[in-house]
Each structure stands twice: as C-alpha cells, then as structure tokens.
C-alpha cells in the first residue's frame, strides 16, 4: 500500500480534501501525508474503516514546533542615491510565520501493516492554533493530544476533556516550544557550563565576590 495509492483512495472517498505527500529524505523512507484540518476527521474515519486499510490503531501522536525562520535574501531595487537612479542591492529580512505541527502514526492491528503518517499544521504559533481533535475517531489520541495542548499549546476542537496533563493547572506557558525561556532560578552550580557559566559569573559580580 504505497502512500500514493492511499492518497488517491482518500481523494476518491473524501471530496474536497487537500492532500500533499511530504517526502522524507532519510533512509528510513517513511513519507508522510499532509492533510488539511478541515477534512481531518472525515479522512481519519475513512482510514479507520476503509476495508483495504483498516488503520484501527493510532499508535503515536506527536507535536512539533517549527518557529518562524528569518530569511534574508538579496533584492535588487532601484533607489535614488544622491539624485542619481541607481540599482542598489539590499538585504531584506523577512520573518516567515512559524507553525505548530501534529503528526499521527497509524497502524493496522488487523492487517498488521506498517505506519501511515499523517501531518496537520496550524496557521501560526500565536493565536490561530486550533486543530480538529481525532480522539472521537481513535480513543488512543486522547492523552497524547492533551500532552500536545499542555506542552505546545495546540487547542484541539472536539476533544472530550482538554486539560493540562503534565504541568500543574496554573502553569501559563508551553514549555516544549523552541522559544521557551526557563525561569532564571540561578542557584549554586558547582560545575557550570556555557550559558550557565555566564550567569554564574554575572551573579558573582553582582554579589561583589571575585
């Protein structure tokens, strides 16, 4: 069952879904299928119930954080430089909008065939982080989606009981994001390394100890 046949079957059965095969350059050869959030639940129920696939076992649900990258490209623009029309090369830094991604690894216990990987990503990392929850389709995604909500901040619509699972309820930020800054509880560091070494040196100067 190659990913292409699965993609064509889904397109045949789930009208209007947008699919894209994401190739995986590593020798593991596990390519994945990016699905659009709007049709996610329909695609999921199809994959679970369709006869040749019967992917009834959602083994793993993972959250991945792709922060926005700074792309600086050289752009030739005409600029008036002291009255003369000149072509000037300028480096323009554009900040791409990062996104949060959720990856589902599906197996079939009945047919015993290997992982079919689905990917869904949110629009951006700030406020539009809603994704449809697949817990109604596979109950095994319940705790793992709660963990992604807790550590990455993806809000799953339709999840029966979306609460923080690992951090305490009053915790505010989402610690597994790449830009999470830990609270600076600098304390006694007998063997400090790189940035902790810097903090240790600052604290030594503040304390006036040399």
């Amino acid at each position: 069952m190659t990913l292409e046949t699965i993609e064509s079957e889904i397109e045949a059965n789930v009208p209007g879904c947008v699919l894209e095969i994401v190739s995986n350059p590593s020798p593991s050869g596990q390519h994945s299928l990016r699905i659009d959030p709007a049709h996610a639940v329909a695609i999921a129920t199809f994959l679970r119930d369709a006869e040749p696939l019967r992917l009834d076992y959602c083994s793993n649900v993972t959250g991945v954080d792709w922060p926005g990258k700074e792309i600086s490209e050289k752009v030739k623009i005409k600029k008036l430089v002291d009255g003369v029309e000149q072509e000037v090369e300028e480096v323009r830094k554009t900040q791409t909008l990062g996104h949060l991604e959720v990856v589902y690894h599906l197996y079939s216990m009945e047919k015993k065939h290997g992982p079919v990987i689905l990917r869904m990503s949110t629009e951006d990392r700030a406020d539009r982080v809603h994704l449809p929850s697949l817990t109604p389709v596979w109950r095994s995604a319940e705790f793992q989606e709660r963990e992604i909500f807790d550590l990455y901040g993806v809000i799953f619509d339709g999840h029966p009981d979306l609460r923080r699972i690992l951090m305490w309820d009053g915790f505010q930020d989402h610690p597994m994001r790449r830009d999470y800054v830990e609270p600076d509880d600098f304390e006694y560091e007998p063997t400090p390394h790189d940035e902790v070494l810097e903090r240790a040196r600052q604290h030594r100067t503040i304390m006036g100890v040399q």
């Binding site: 995986n24 350059p25 590593s26 020798p27 593991s28 596990q30 009834d56 076992y57 959602c58 083994s59 793993n60 993972t62 991945v64 954080d65 990856v103 690894h105 197996y107 216990m109 015993k112 290997g114 992982p115 990987i117 596979w138 109950r139 095994s140 995604a141 319940e142 705790f143 793992q144 009981d161 609460r163 923080r164 699972i165 690992l166 951090m167 305490w168 309820d169 610690p175 597994m176």
Partner: protein, 385 residues
C-alpha cells in the same frame, strides 16, 4: 491553590433519590502504596463503589524530551534507561533502532543476538516483578514479591557483568552494542535460564490456583476487544483481551522471525487473563532465550563505520517501535542535520494503556481499582517522561 482538577467537585446527590448515600470525592494521590510510583487518581465514591475516576499525571514529568533536544544522539542514550526503569535494555534498543532507521545503519549478526537475549531477559524480570507487585496489591504482602526479586537479582547480576550497571545499562550503540560478552557470561546466562522454569513452576504453584486470587481477579476490569484496539492499548493488556497483535510478529524487527515462539492470548480480557498472559509470556521468553543462547555466532558486535562522537545523521525523520514488556514503545526522531535531534518523541505504552483505566474501574470497589491498576502495569518514568 494547588486544587486537584476542578472537573469533579463533591456532588451532593439529593438523599433519598433511591436511598443512596452522598458521593465522596477522594484522591488516591501521588503518595499511595498501590499506585506504583507517583500516579494520582481523583476518585468519586458512592460508598465503596467507583462512580467516576480521573487519572492525574505529571508528578514525574522530568522533561526527558526537552533535555534530549539539547543533548547529542549518544548523550540521550543513558536517559532512555530512565524512561521505563524496569526495562532499560528494551528502551535502549528502541532508541537505537530509531536512530539506525534514521541514519540507515546496519547491525552485525552477533549484536542482533545479544539484543534479543538482553531484551527477553528484561521481559522475563519485568513480568516477574509485575506479578509480584500485582499480588502484593491484592494483599499477599511480600511473599510472591520476594520470589520475583530473587530471580530478578540473578538477571541483574547478568546485566551488571555485561554492561556494568544493574538497572541503568546504557548498553546499545547505534549499529550494535557497546562491549562484547565477557568470558563465561553465556554459561552463566544458560545456567540462569535453566533455573527459571523451576522458579516458574514454584510461582505458578504458589499463586495460579489460589482461590483468593481467582476471586479477586476473575471478572474484574473486563476490557473488550474493540475498545482495547480503539484506545490504542498494547502489550500483554491487549493480548489478554484476545487481540493477536505483537510487534515482534507484526513488525519483524531484529531477528525475531528466526525463533519459533507463540503469542499467548486471553479470552475474557479480565485481570486474571492479564495475569495468566504474562505468566505464559515468561515461558515463551525462556524458549527464545534457550534458542538464542545456543546459536549465538561469533563476530563483531558493532558496525565499525559508526562514529561515537560528532554523529550527525542527514536531515529527515524516522519512527521505530518495538514490543517492550509494557507494550508498544516507539521513538520518533526528526533530525535537522546537526548533532542534536530537532524533535525527540517517546511513545509511552503505559500512558496510552491508562486510557482504559476509567472504563475498567467504574462500578467496581476501591480495592478492585488497586488490582486493575496493578494489572495494567504502568511505570511513572515512562508515563510522565
């Protein structure tokens, strides 16, 4: 205020509805003799009967995945020992398998045999300890656990002479194992494996036909087949409900296809079946061990090309899962070409198996919750990661 989950508050039912009493909300909290570590269940009780049960995790969330993002690939290997701290070698193997799939590394023949031998020894001691803890939860305070730990010590001696540490072996490397079997290890292992059937007979005679055990476990916590599959339950808990899915047979990783071993399945899916499936699985592990110990070939134990330091796999991702003693343990790695993994995810079988805990416990007494939780075999290092 560190309140528990606000989801369930005391719900004073109108007394006299059908002469039931009020509901009592109590938390079988993080420090509890029967919760196998720091696991908490907010339980709403009607007298002795369970009305609602909300598990609360996170008391041992040690941020293994965040630390792994700042460690090199080799640096995360000793951390995998601490995931499921009963079975460090199967954790190592799952992680090594994922990295080998990510970077396309081959594993020599002898290393495959050593991996199977250590994995089956780990499975044996994990199931023995579980049955010890399960019967202790039922009230047999200590005796079966003493028997189980006596055998576990023999296996830990084998691990210590092979890898240097009793519980935290840090033994697998990408492309094989770290150090070859010391002289006399195979004979010591064969002697230990030869003594285990006698222990299993003793264990079975001690427990299997015990009326108290049968009364406490038969018909308690019945898990239906469809619900088990949909809830992603894996491992002995799944096979006790009659679903024939074992990653060793389904995925054919390692060289398991060379060994003839059967998969024990239960019919009713209750706690007694989960207990018996584990006993039978221990016997199957012994069969594999005898075969593997008999025809382990000589040869290199690690693929010489793999570098220990500065290991930079090409960008890409890989997911590998194995049949750990507790269930389907998976590692999902995304590499961006640097020496640190971009995303390092562990698929915890214990956490997903706990999805079914509420459905199994509702309607039973508090004492049965303890037994059902014991039969699901969770370990908090893996649940909270």
């Amino acid at each position: 205020m560190s309140t528990a989950t606000e989801a369930i508050r005391i719900i004073p039912k109108s007394p006299g509805a059908n002469d039931e009493g009020q509901w009592l909300e109590v938390s079988m909290g993080p420090q509890h003799p029967s919760t196998h570590g720091v696991f908490r269940m907010d339980v709403v009780l009607d007298g002795e009967r369970i009305v609602k049960l909300k598990p609360v995790f996170g008391y041992l969330h040690r941020n293994h995945e965040k630390i792994a993002e700042n460690e090199s690939y080799l640096g995360s290997m000793p951390y995998t020992d601490r995931l499921d701290y009963f079975c460090s070698l199967t954790n190592n193997w799952a992680y090594a398998l994922a990295v080998e799939k990510l970077a396309g590394i081959q594993v020599p023949e002898r290393a495959e045999y050593i991996r199977i031998i250590t994995a089956e020894l780990t499975r044996f001691q994990n199931h023995a300890c579980l049955i010890g803890f399960l019967t202790q939860d039922m009230g047999a305070s200590g005796t079966p656990l003493m028997y189980a730990f006596r055998e576990r010590e023999k296996i830990l001696d084998l691990f210590e002479s092979l890898t240097g540490a009793r519980m935290m072996c840090n033994y697998m490397r990408f492309g094989g194992c770290r150090v070859d079997l010391p002289a006399g290890w195979i004979e010591q292992a064969r002697a230990a494996v030869a003594s285990f059937p006698r222990f299993l007979d003793e264990f079975e005679q001690l427990l299997a036909s015990n009326e108290i055990l049968m009364a406490r476990t038969q018909g308690v916590g019945v898990l239906s087949k469809e619900f088990a599959v949909n809830a992603g339950v894996s491992g002995p808990v799944l096979r006790a409900s009659g679903v024939n899915y074992d990653v060793r047979k389904a995925d054919k990783y390692g060289i398991y296809d060379r060994f003839a071993f059967k998969i024990p399945l239960g019919e009713h899916g209750d706690t007694y079946d989960r207990y018996m499936v584990r006993l039978l699985e221990m016997r199957e592990s012994l069969k594999i061990l005898e075969l593997a110990l008999r025809d382990i070939p000589a040869g290199p134990i690690v693929d010489p090309k793999t570098k220990i330091r500065g290991f930079r796999p090409k960008p890409g991702e890989a997911y590998a899962h194995i049949e750990a003693p507790k269930g389907d343990l998976g590692f999902y790695l995304i590499s961006d070409g640097s020496s640190n993994p971009y995303r390092y995810r562990v698929r915890p079988p214990s956490l997903v198996n706990l999805t079914v805990l509420e459905e199994l416990c509702i309607g039973h007494n508090v004492a049965d919750v303890v037994v059902i939780l014991g039969s699901i075999d969770i370990v908090m290092g893996e649940v909270d990661r």
